[in-house]
Amino acid sequence: MLKILTRAMLAGCLMIGAAKAADAPDPTNWPNLLTQAKGQTVYWHAWGGEPRINDYIAWAGREIEERYGVELVHVKVQDTGSVVSQVLAEKTAGTLDGGSVDLIWINGENFAAMKREGLLLSEGWANKLPNFQYVDVSGKPTVINDFTVPTDGLEAPWGMAQLVFFNDTAISTEVPTSMEALLEWSAANPGRFSYPQPPDYVGSTFLKQALYELVTDPTVLQQPADEADFAAVTEPLLAYLDKLHPHMWRSGRAFPQNTASLRQLMADGELEIGFAFNPAAASNAIANNELPDSVRSFVLETGTIGNTHFVAIPFNANAKAGAMVLADFLMSPEAQLRKQDPNVWGDPTVLDVKALPAAARKSFEELDLGVATLSPSELGIVLPEPHPSWMVELEKVWLARYGV
């Protein structure tokens, strides 16, 4: 009897201990964290609109299951904003732990909103992950500044993106490499250019890209929008759009809903110029039978906007340790290499390739980036993202002026 009682008490203590530890997984004590993570199921809410990305996530799931005993469930979302809403709804309802979201694929205004509202796991965990040592913090400053907002270790960098344009060289080899040239080109080729409708992410990025080129002093974009004379700064952009829209697809009365439908319209021959927030987009589309293999990428003379996308853990995540294991695995040279392979996904790495161990570095250097992908040097200048408030305000102005 006594024996049973002791054993029960012991078990009880162990469980309490385990629960305590699960509340505060510590990435600096990695072996301990791996033990906590074992057997957990990580619900990763990530945009599910791209089959090849879904396949990559499925691969990562198989790997961490095998290596660390962590199960991954990819919750395919249509709009990351809805995940923010969901975490918020849980906070509203007082679900302070055991929440339904363990990891979110995120950046920009979604991150800014979650950080501001305290919806993220608050101890800076991301820069303590073992593989963070390989991240190219000095060469790619956006890995710790998400749209100018310091990440403070609240999200772990996952991949790099840069706005890249592409066109079918079988139709024309002449490409506009500035906003002014784009306007002239559109006037000469009416109905063959469009951009995704803001607040689509890439559509809003196009607005910011145009703003960069048209604004007199781009440095104001690094400050919050309300600290600048917003109307004066954006006036040239609106004047530009007023001129551009009449020459655009459907005369600017309808817009593709996202970059995928932009690509689809290009495949249909309705549009001649496409763009995406991924340098490998054109190569991928060719491999996917979507675009002809005469499509090639190009960038603008004065540079294009680039940023980093991340994974973050909500404050009330149920499997925090498992989520960290996954985030760390996603940053590993092996996972990053696979992600950059255009046959898999083609998303550029966040790591500093030169600082990697020799074998890993060699693999990266030997990677064939794909027929329509520009090399890192050809990608030209990378412009930093403006402060997220610009995106919010630009979307409002755009909606009022062109969206209704």
Partner: protein, 560 residues
């Protein structure tokens, strides 16, 4: 036990709707303490009204709802008037029935692929007939007047209203009335509208109102086919709900109330139109005109009906072609190459969504069937038939816009400490499945000859034994058909699965919508086909199972 089932059923249906509405009502007026909203305010309504284009969005929703419903009803009534009893009608009926099982989103995708300037229709006639090798810059899909959206909705609602009307026909004694009217010199269409229409309309009124409410608040079809500058209110409402800005929560709640208002306004306008139609109709009857361009009207409507059903069918076919397409550019009528790669690539990811779809669909349907049978049996035993007021309650989940109450319901579930679990998702599905199951089963159930029960009870069999051994087996076909209808409804649920399940229970439909955001037609084709195929399998099973079980029972086959 059985006595309390009807009340329990209504609780299942109405409780969540009311609770969900409460969940958005308070935040709409600024009350949501956990977000710092503690005082009543009308600010958020003012905020909504001053949002650019919101009036136009609301007007769009209203107009789409009213026009879609009026045209669908008109086509169906004119079809029955002009063609009922002919071989053409039978053919059309067979053509339209399977369309009922095609989910709205799949039909909308198909239509979009068909009618776009670079769509299949244009490809079929280019360049040999049109001379174009590049698609013209015509604004067809997503047009600001929502014409293509209405076309898509009408193509889907016509089969629904037709089947509902056909179910109502036996009680309206159509054939005798038409013959009688004809002997008085009335044309078939005029005769129908002056004799049979009022009776049929009274019976299909609630389904018509459900169509109206649905069309004013539909989300998926609006995203695919509807205008985007601005979009109809329901689409914008969803955007507000998904906005990471926390304060948008209040605006989204106010928007949800506004959506409710738009739907209510549409119903009011419809009621007014009913009154007007009744008065002018009475006057027309009294005047006694015998024909009103009957013959030409008859032909036009036949053409319209054929086009609308052919569009959906062709849309599904083109989806199928996309799902096996290799490289396919404008203006080729067919892909350069075919490949099964799209299917094999998706096959891996299909297992979980398929499992979830089946689990949730079968469970929700089973619950709905059990509750419906219990209600109907209780009705038989107590001798009280459901009053028309109870029927209105049944329609509430179909009339209150989903976007308006599911969001509030989600918050409520969380507040009660409930985690996303599959049971909650199933019960949320029941809210939408049950009305359809009840409505499709009630008529055949009540039409059953109760003298069979008298015979069996006279032999000494209890009411329970009569139910299990006589009534249920005799009504197996309608019960299974109702189950297939319920299953199809469950498969089509998007918001309910997503919001209440916190996205943890991906189904074919949620996956289809998520993948659709990637715009890859090949993938959309794969999912849309599966989405259309599942309900079809359900209906096929509902028809073939009794045929197999009762292969030696002629009367049972004639029954089906």
């Amino acid at each position: 036990m059985l006595k309390h089932i009807p009340a329990l059923t209504l609780f299942f249906l109405i409780g969540p709707v009311l609770a969900g509405l409460m969940g958005v009502l308070l935040p709409a007026f600024g009350v949501l303490p956990s977000l710092g909203g503690t005082s009543l305010t009308l600010d958020y309504f003012q905020n909504i009204l001053s949002t650019p284009g919101v009036i136009r969005s609301s007007f769009l929703s209203l107009a789409v709802g009213l026009i879609t419903t009026a045209i669908s009803l008109g086509i169906v009534m004119l079809l029955i008037a002009g063609w009922h009893g002919t071989r053409f009608f039978k053919l059309l009926q067979n053509l339209l029935s399977p369309l009922l099982s095609v989910p709205h989103a799949a039909a909308a995708f198909g239509l979009a692929f068909l009618i776009a300037p670079s769509g299949w229709l244009m490809r079929l006639v280019s360049p040999w007939a049109t001379g174009v090798t590049r698609p013209p810059d015509w604004l067809i899909v997503n047009d600001p007047l929502a014409l293509s959206m209405m076309a898509g909705l009408i193509a889907k609602e016509v089969p629904f209203l037709l089947l509902v009307s056909l179910a109502a026909l036996p009680q309206s004694d159509l054939r005798r009335k038409t013959v009688l009217a004809a002997t008085l010199g009335y044309g078939p269409v005029s005769g129908f509208f002056k004799t049979s229409f009022p009776l049929i309309y009274r019976q299909i009124r609630l389904p018509v109102l459900a169509v109206l409410a649905y069309a004013t608040s539909v989300v998926d079809v609006a995203i695919i086919l509807g205008p985007s500058t601005p979009a109809p209110l329901s689409v914008r409402l969803l955007q507000w709900m998904n906005d990471p800005e926390i304060t948008e929560r209040f605006r989204a709640s106010a928007g949800a109330m506004m959506q409710l208002g738009v739907t209510a306004l549409a119903l009011l306008v419809w009621f007014a139109a009913e009154q007007l139609a009744r008065r002018t109709g009475m006057r027309a009857i009294n005047r006694g005109h015998r024909t009103f361009a009957d013959q030409s009207l008859r032909r036009i409507i036949a053409v319209l009906a054929v086009i609308s059903s052919a569009m959906v069918l062709a849309g599904i076919i083109v989806l199928g072609i996309w799902s096996i397409a290799g490289f396919w550019r404008f203006p080729d009528a067919l892909p350069v190459s075919f490949t099964l790669a799209n299917w094999s690539r998706q096959a891996m990811g299909l297992e979980t969504p398929l499992q979830n779809t089946l689990t949730i669909g079968v469970a929700a349907t089973a619950i709905a069937i059990v509750l419906t049978l219990a209600c109907l049996e209780q009705e038989t035993r107590s001798g009280k038939t459901a009053t028309s007021r109870a029927l209105v309650l049944l329609y509430i989940p179909l009339i209150v816009p989903q976007v308006s109450f599911l969001f509030g319901l989600n918050i409520l579930v969380l507040q009660m400490g409930g985690r996303a679990n599959v049971l909650l998702v199933i019960f949320t599905h029941v809210i939408f499945v049950l009305p359809y199951v009840y409505l499709s089963l009630a008529d055949p159930w009540r039409a059953w000859d109760t003298r069979y029960a008298a015979v069996a009870q006279g032999m000494g069999h209890s009411a329970n034994r009569v139910f299990w051994s006589v009534r249920l087996p005799m009504l197996l076909t309608p019960v299974l058909t109702a189950a297939a209808v319920g299953f199809a409804v469950s498969i089509g649920q998007y918001l309910a699965t997503l919001l209440i399940g916190s996205g943890r229970f991906p189904t074919i439909t949620t996956e289809a919508v998520a993948l659709a955001s990637g715009g890859d037609r090949r993938v959309i084709g794969v999912y849309a086909l599966i989405q259309a195929l599942l309900p079809f399998i359900g209906f096929a099973a509902a028809l073939s199972l009794p045929a197999l079980l009762y292969r030696n029972r002629r009367a049972m086959r004639a029954n089906g």
